[in-house]
């Protein structure tokens, strides 16, 4: 499904009496991992809904590989904050939901999803019900459901926000590994600066609502990232820069 170059071009969105997006513009290169951070309530989730084609912007465009895809859902695989695994489906059938909706037969969809179970640490849980999985496993299953759709760009909305910190660190390390292997183009929302730095090639800082881009910070740490890097001076310097940008954005 194309290379996955994503361009956000001057996105504006207001709800009645509430301007939310005030000309948000940035790019994501094919295979790049970009994180979005911003003060809470700044409109990150609205921005995601607009990019994912769930909300129509009042102005501006979303382009994927040069094509205007504003309001279209098909270039994006979307992972919401909660895992939303449905208890009436097995784990395998939860992961194939997007493929089935896209018209693939259940059998073909299962054949597509099954090989991903081992790299996602879910081998042996194909027939389990979601409620039998741990929190980390549920998030990996939700991510599997997202990536198996084979869309150009992955939109991840705070995927690890609900996990305890130890599990979260494990998940971040794991994600860093699989991402390098599959070369996804990822846009990630997070409120965790450390997570943003650890995973990203670039971090986009948003202003308070009505939001726009305050700053883009490149993370020039070598890949693959390791847990040891978190304590390095370079890592701390990037974190520092992002914190400053966040604080600067809050001032009037």
């Amino acid at each position: 499904m194309g290379e996955g170059k994503l361009v956000l071009d001057g996105l504006r969105k207001a709800f009645p009496g509430l301007p939310v997006l005030d000309g948000v513009a940035f790019d994501v290169a094919p295979g790049e991992f970009v994180s979005l951070i911003g003060p809470s309530g700044c409109g990150k989730s609205t921005l995601f809904d607009v990019v994912a084609g769930l909300e129509t912007p009042d102005a501006g465009r979303v382009l994927v590989d040069g094509e205007d895809t504003t309001g279209r859902v098909d270039p994006f695989a979307y992972m919401p904050q909660r895992d939303l695994l449905f208890p009436w489906r097995t784990v395998l059938d939860n992961t194939t939901l997007g493929l089935e909706v896209a018209g693939m037969s259940r059998r073909a969809a299962r054949e597509r999803a099954r090989p991903l179970f081992a790299p996602f640490g879910l081998a042996g849980f194909e027939k389990a019900r979601p409620q039998e999985l741990s929190g980390g496993m549920r998030q990996r299953a939700a991510l599997l459901r997202t990536v198996v759709q084979d869309r150009a760009v992955l939109l991840l909305d705070e995927p690890f926000g609900a996990l305890d910190s130890l599990t979260r660190t494990d998940m971040q390390t794991w994600l860093e590994g699989v991402r390098a292997h599959y070369g996804w183009t990822v846009l990630l929302i997070t409120h965790d600066i450390r997570e943003a730095v650890f995973l990203s090639d670039r971090v986009v800082v948003l202003a308070p609502r009505p939001t726009s881009v305050v700053r883009e910070v490149a993370v020039d740490l070598p890949r693959p990232r390791t847990v040891e890097m978190i304590t390095s001076a370079r890592f701390a310097a990037v974190e520092e820069e992002l914190l400053a940008a966040l604080r600067g954005g809050r001032a009037p």
């Binding site: 084609g53 769930l54 979307y78 208890p87």
Partner: protein
């Protein structure tokens, strides 16, 4: 099994105590059986008239089954229509509520005048008393679908019908079974009431006839049978639920 027994024990103990007190009172005060028969007499006479009671139970079960089926079909059709059309939601939901304000006591005899002593007036009464909990349970079950789940399905490119099939429908099933249980208990009493007003056979008309000949004991025997039928149907819904919604019990235990 042991858990079920443990749950059933307290109400059974209470019922047993009540029966003992009743038996004692009737014996001690020497009440005439036409006024208040003892529990033992109810059982004794009920058993003696078992053929007649059974012959009247079958038509009642039939009427209940037909009436409740009509109610279910109607309830599902209306609930789905309401789920797909905001206009129909605004138009119909107030009418559902209004249907519950109809005094069945007054309507039922009229139904007999309009439709005769056959199946139809009874089916209408049962549908009237049961379709409300079923329909409202479904309508609310569909509407309670998580917004994020809807968005997830939309992001996958799901049509409104696919959203319904993959998320709204299965998500509404637990709530549907709750309302099904309310409905089915109304269904049996609704059938009895419809028969009471006018019928050729059935527990309702049986009670009416026995009351007129002061066979209080047989009226109460029929009441016991009615209660047993209701409880059996109630229990049946749990069985069906376990087959249709196998994922539910686990969640309930955790919640």
């Amino acid at each position: 099994m042991i858990r079920t027994l443990r749950r059933l024990a307290p109400p059974l103990v209470l019922v047993a105590l009540g029966l003992v007190a009743w038996q004692w009172y009737v014996t001690a005060a020497d009440v005439r059986p036409q006024v208040l028969p003892s529990p033992l007499r109810v059982v004794e006479q009920g058993w003696a008239f078992r053929d007649q009671i059974w012959a009247n139970t079958v038509p009642t079960l039939q009427v209940t089954a037909v009436g409740f089926t009509v109610s279910l079909v109607l309830g599902w059709a209306l609930a789905i229509a309401v789920d797909f059309s905001p206009w129909l939601r605004r138009a119909l939901v107030p009418l559902f509520v209004a249907s519950q304000t109809l005094p069945i006591v007054a309507i039922a005899p009229l139904l007999i005048i309009w439709f005769g002593f056959g199946l139809l007036p009874k089916v209408v009464v049962i549908a009237l008393v049961t379709f409300f909990p079923v329909t409202v349970g479904l309508v609310e079950g569909f509407a309670a679908t998580d917004r994020q789940a809807t968005n997830l399905l939309r992001s996958m490119g799901a049509s409104r019908w696919e959203q319904f099939r993959y998320v709204r429908l299965p998500g509404a099933l637990p709530r549907f079974f709750t309302s099904l249980r309310i409905g089915i208990t109304y269904a049996v009493t609704g059938a009895i009431f419809a028969e009471y007003v006018g019928a050729t056979a059935g527990l309702g008309i049986f009670m009416s006839v026995q009351r007129n000949s002061f066979r209080t004991d047989l009226v109460l025997a029929a009441v016991v049978v009615t209660a047993l039928v209701s409880v059996a149907l109630f229990a049946l819904t749990y069985l069906v639920e376990r087959l249709v919604v196998p994922w539910r019990p686990r969640e309930v235990r955790h919640g």
